[in-house]
Amino acid sequence: MFGTIFTFELKRWFRNPTLYIYVAIFFFLAFFIMASSLGVFDSFKTTTSSRAISNSPIALNGIINGLTVFIYFLLPSIIGASVYRDFKYNMHSILFSYPFTKWEYLFGKFLSSLLVVIFITLFLGLAAYLASFLPGVNQEMLGPQRIMAYLQTYLIFIIPNLLFYGVIIFSVVTITRNISVGFITVILLLFIQSIVSSFTKDADNRYLVALFEPFGSDALDYYTKYWTMYEKNNNLLPFEGVIIYNRLLWFGVSVLIFGLIYRYFSFTQTALTLGRSKNKERVVKNNFGGITKINLPQVSFDYSLKQNLKTTWSLSNLDFKFIVKNWVFISILIVGLLFILITASVIGEVFGTNTYPVTWQMLLIPGGTFGLFINLVTFLFAGLLIHRGTTTRMNHLIDSTPVPNWVLLTSKFIALIKMQLILLFVILLAGVLYQTYSGFYDYEIGHYLKELLGLKLIHFVIWAFLAIIIQTLFKNYLLGFFVLLILSIGLNFLPAIGVEQDIFIYNSDSGFQYSDMNGYGHGLNLYLIYKIYWFLLGITFFCLALLFWTRGIGQSAKERFKEAGRRLHSKIAISLTLSFVGFLAIGSTIYYQNNVINKTKSGKESEKEMVQWEKKYKKYEHKPQPRITDIKMDMDLYPKERNFVANGTYILKNKTKVAIDTIYINHGKNTEVSFNVKNKLISKDTVFNFDIYRLEKSLIVGDSIQMKFVVKNKPNTFFRDNSPVEYNGTFINNSMFPSIGYSDQSELTDDEVRKKYGLKPRDRMPKPTDSIARQNTYISNDADWVTFETTVSTSNDQTAIAPGYLIKKWTKDGRNYFHYKMDRKMLNFYAFNSARYEVKKDKWHDVNIEIYYNKGHEYNIDRMISGVKKSLDYYTKNFSPYQHKQVRIIEFPRTGGGFAQSFANTIPFSEAIGFIAKVDDEDQNGVDYPFSITSHEVAHQWWAHQVIGANVQGATLLSESLSEYSSLKVLEHTYGKTQMRKFLKDALDSYLQGRTFENKKEQPLMYNENQQYIHYNKGSLVLYALSDYIGEKNMNNALKRYIQKVAFQEAPYTNSIELVQELDAATPDSLKYLIHDMFETITLYENRVEKATAKKLPNGTYEVKIDFTVSKYKANDDGKRLFKDKTGKTVTYKKKDSKYAIESYPLNDYVEIGVFSEQTVKGKKKDKELYLKKVKIDKINNSVTVIVKEKPLEVGVDPYNKLIDTQSDDNRIKI
């Protein structure tokens, strides 16, 4: 009988066209994604280039698993419904009288439907495989075809996961006989999964999460998180340790659940329902009816428009009630609320420190997952409402009443919007709840309402329109739901096939961003225009839905079209035409603005332009050019109109050894240039804005000329924004002004892409020894040290700031003027800020400290001031005197970016990274980042503004890494060593993750090519460790000597080699290997405590024996592990019971060993060091014995993770 049930069920599915629709959807999704990542669409879009192989086992696993998440939404209707269907069609009463056992029935149903789902997933793999044979595939990104890769993905992840989810959904739907409950379960499971995963943020939980996360993706991640490009491209998926345990665990759980459903399922059971049962009373009907006279009372009927509108509203209330009473909705509501509260607690977290829960941050929540929730229920309930009549079989009663179609459709639509409103109010509620919980009482209810009702609602309403038309067209609401789900997510991927403009992607828009300083800024108009644009298309959809609305008996597609034609009377036709014409009108206006009046370059076009630029002008790169020596700027900012006019004067001096007769000017749009000597414009390029002037009289060696320029923005229009000026919080820098000579900044950097266009491969930066490159700093290629003077004007309610000292301030014609002048030479690097500022002033010795901030952002001003003072203390003491008399920190809107940037004595600082931080001084795991960022930026006054590296590899070691090091030291001296741990742990994680995304090559620290994960994260780790090994004082003295040598130097500029030499000189011979390991090569460790025992000695002390292994390896620039040194030497060690030997690079290293107990400080448990010492080791397996005075609790090898270790959670072990 099992066979009969099994094959019957299978046959039923394989005859069902829905199955093939699903198959087709998934096949094409996988096919397109794979084709896109293999560069098949490269003729329409930017060239896909990556060193990552698209069909490597881990990449395939990612694609197939990612798409399988959508398939989980099919489980309720395929696996869940397999038994439910028999009940729905009353088959069970017949079926259950047949002679089969419960086992045969349940197992047959489950297995067959599981097989159907697996059948669908197989097409993902098939599509991914076939896509690699398409013409146009970039062979560089295609690795060997490995069947094993597919087998692994399916056998380890896809099929076990489907089994687990399948069993749960099967049980839930079978018990409740309600497919919707199956949906809730899918959403709940996905939700639980994401919550479980979020615990990996704390590295200490990674193993546990890996074990318990039901998808197994965290288990996989446990081993592959730090996989380098080489490992990604070459390794098969790991199947070991926690992955095996995880899979076994959840397989066991699946079997258990199936066992339970088997145990409790009964053929005769009634559906499990939630809610109280009604009072039962015996009902005996009257079996003897008389004859009644029927005299219906006269009532009046009203079929007017007004009455219809009233009916629409009251019907919508009924439909709304249906939604809010539905368990899917209630569950989503609860899950959503929980989700918001959980997200709110981690949103905006930096280095373990939260921000104050300001309203705009609460409002970021619906943009992501919660927005998806709203869409999911909109799609689902659009279907449930539209098909409600058919589902309950009441449709014939309704359809024969004189209610117009539009009343029915509109009422359902309004009910959907009411539902969306409820969900949006949940955001408000959750936001206010969370704010209250956090003791933040600055509720901006008006802001909530404006954003949720004014800006967000329309976004979801536009999705509701799409839901209405799709669900009207599809007879099966589950299929409709599914199509909508795929559409809403798939549309985001249109740019991957070259469709980039918002007007072609349903419901996409220009976006908006809120800042406390600048509100919604100028972006709102355009956002609303886009929304109106899509809303009009929505109305068109609505009219179409009216035309295709099913009334009465369902019809064939042909008849529906005929019927639609019949229904197309004037009212609908007019609405349809008007909305569609409006849609086209707005769309074509935007298109005209963006493509005809202003050229929006597609990614592809930009790519081609970059090629052109290089081919056309690279030849001028090393032509002798004069250098900028003096800068005067008159900058007029008009915040209300959002315009600016800059009048600049450069003095250009011939610092070369030859006379110069040709000047190359590289500028932006709307720029006019003139010289004070006679000249001729011999080439003008309006595409690249690269002009060539021939001087009538050559500029002789040592002589100067004056160059004047005017730069303005193009006027802003309703549809297009052409200015960087903000209403409040302008922050613009000198990159918009003309520069001299060719710039290689806009060259293509990816060698694969370069090859495609016939360009030679290039390094991202020249070698440190490149003497031509060393003529320029990495900040500027047309100036050395310059004098700077500026007059900035702005509106009368704003303060404008630029580097230099305020000489004079005045008001004229209702505008504020500020005259700044720098008293010494500085880099050609400056910016202008203007906003309505509050100021807080302080002093450190004779240095003025000023913080310019937005009113309401007072929270951390004192921390910043303290950061400035402590930094000045430390840097002047350890490095060199401060060259300025002033430090100014200037807040700018988060919409301008989330960073701080150090200009000479002036530090623009984003409102997002410190001004609203909620620092908890008690929290060991939270860094006072307003303090540390301030300290980093102040350090730049030394490491950039005194010592500036040449434009060669390793330049940022001299600025960013040293600033990180400097600020870490200030942080350490202020807060103690414990705050270092969190910071260094984050740095280690960021470095290890950063290298996995490297798409060119990982460089050693001293040769880094402006790679952030190297110069910030590895840089801070390495320099901190070095100071720990050779001593802080020693290290700082080396830096001091280095500053003395190179500060404020002229070309050729210093490089990393000179710094490393200085550090090397300060390092004792026994530790010289560190310089080689940390700076010159990429070196990683795998340190691990194997065993630790403690024994109490008679004298009350404890003898601790620690067995540990140390393995060191080098990585090549691809991330391949190398265990042999130059001479081919290597060491290995094989544990007794292990199959594999541990390999290592030859060792002669010092590694720290620590023994800890616990102490309670201010009610919080903290480590207490009983022993901490660096021991020398020269082999992999080691054992040390130490005596400590107290009872030890924990031991560790490199316990503070000072060395770079990919598995940092096994360095400590509890005794």
Partner: protein, 291 residues
């Protein structure tokens, strides 16, 4: 009040011809539409109730062209489909209020009055607070009538309403229908001949999408006067008799013999006795002639 159906055709995508050039004229009173399962009764009913479009033909009621002006008809239409469900967890009162709104009764007072009345007429007043989805078959059918009455319809279409009802329910139901039928046009489809016999002022027999016979029940029966003959035969004689005579029905007696009824203008032979015609004979004769 006259429903005029002319040349109605409908063929389903699977090739079944549900309505075959059907012509029918129906006046006030109860009109019984008699036909076997699959005769096209429901198709015809749904088409009149504006739920389905014919391929061709026309239907008019009181000057309303139903196919063109569906809304006008719906205003005066009461329709009870052969099979229907209701929104779950809604009481009769709430559902009726819902339908009253759909039917355009704007004032809530009016709705209350009429709902109370239809609940009383259909004897559902006591259970008005109970969920209709939990009603028994008979109660549900009566609820169907209740909703149908809300707009005081002039044209009432009930599609096989008595199928599955117990005798008491069936009686009650037919009585209510009868009451309504006195001053409305009621079209009532069934395959149970007795329903028609008891109720209808006029009857039509439908098979294969065609009207085979239309008459008043009495006249239809009268038309068969002296043409129905009966005889008792043994089981083995049935087949030869069927070949020889126009047998329209055969029923077992308790002794395993059969009563056969034959349609013939004259006495087939002397073994046959004249029988008084029944409406059932009309039905079978019509079907037989259609073969």
């Amino acid at each position: 009040m006259k429903l005029q159906i002319s040349n109605l055709n409908k063929t389903y995508p699977n090739g079944v011809k549900a309505l075959d050039n059907l012509n029918l004229e129906i006046g006030t009173g109860m009109f019984g539409l008699l036909g076997p399962n699959g005769a096209g009764k429901s198709s015809l009913m749904r088409t009149i109730a504006t739920l389905q479009k014919p391929d061709s033909g026309s239907i008019t009621f009181e000057g309303i062209n139903i196919l063109e002006n569906q809304m006008e008809l719906r205003k005066i239409l009461g329709y009870l489909p052969q099979e229907f469900g209701v929104y779950p967890s809604m009481s009769a009162e709430k559902l009726l209020d819902y339908f009253a709104r759909l039917k355009g009764i704007s004032s809530s007072k009016d709705r209350k009055i009429i709902i109370k009345e239809v609940l009383e007429v259909t004897n559902l007043y006591d259970v008005r607070m109970k969920n209709v989805s939990g009603y028994s078959g008979g109660m549900k059918q009566r609820f169907g009538i209740a909703q149908l009455l809300l707009n005081n319809p002039k044209l009432i279409i009930v599609d096989e309403p008595t199928a599955g009802l117990d005798p008491a329910e069936r009686h009650r139901f037919l009585n209510v229908l009868r009451e309504i039928g006195t001053n409305h046009t009621v079209i009532f489809s069934t395959h149970i001949v007795d329903d028609v016999k008891e109720l209808c002022t006029e009857v039509a027999i439908l098979n294969g999408g065609k009207i085979l016979n239309q008459n008043t029940p009495a006249a239809a029966v009268e038309a068969l006067e002296n043409k129905i003959w009966t005889k008792v035969v043994s089981r083995d004689e049935l087949e030869p008799s069927e070949k020889e005579f126009n047998v329209i029905s055969s029923n077992y007696n308790q002794d395993n013999t059969l009563n056969i009824r034959v349609f013939s203008e004259t006495q087939p032979d002397e073994t046959f006795k004249k029988a008084s015609p029944q409406l059932e004979d009309v039905y079978f004769v019509a079907l037989k002639n259609d073969q």
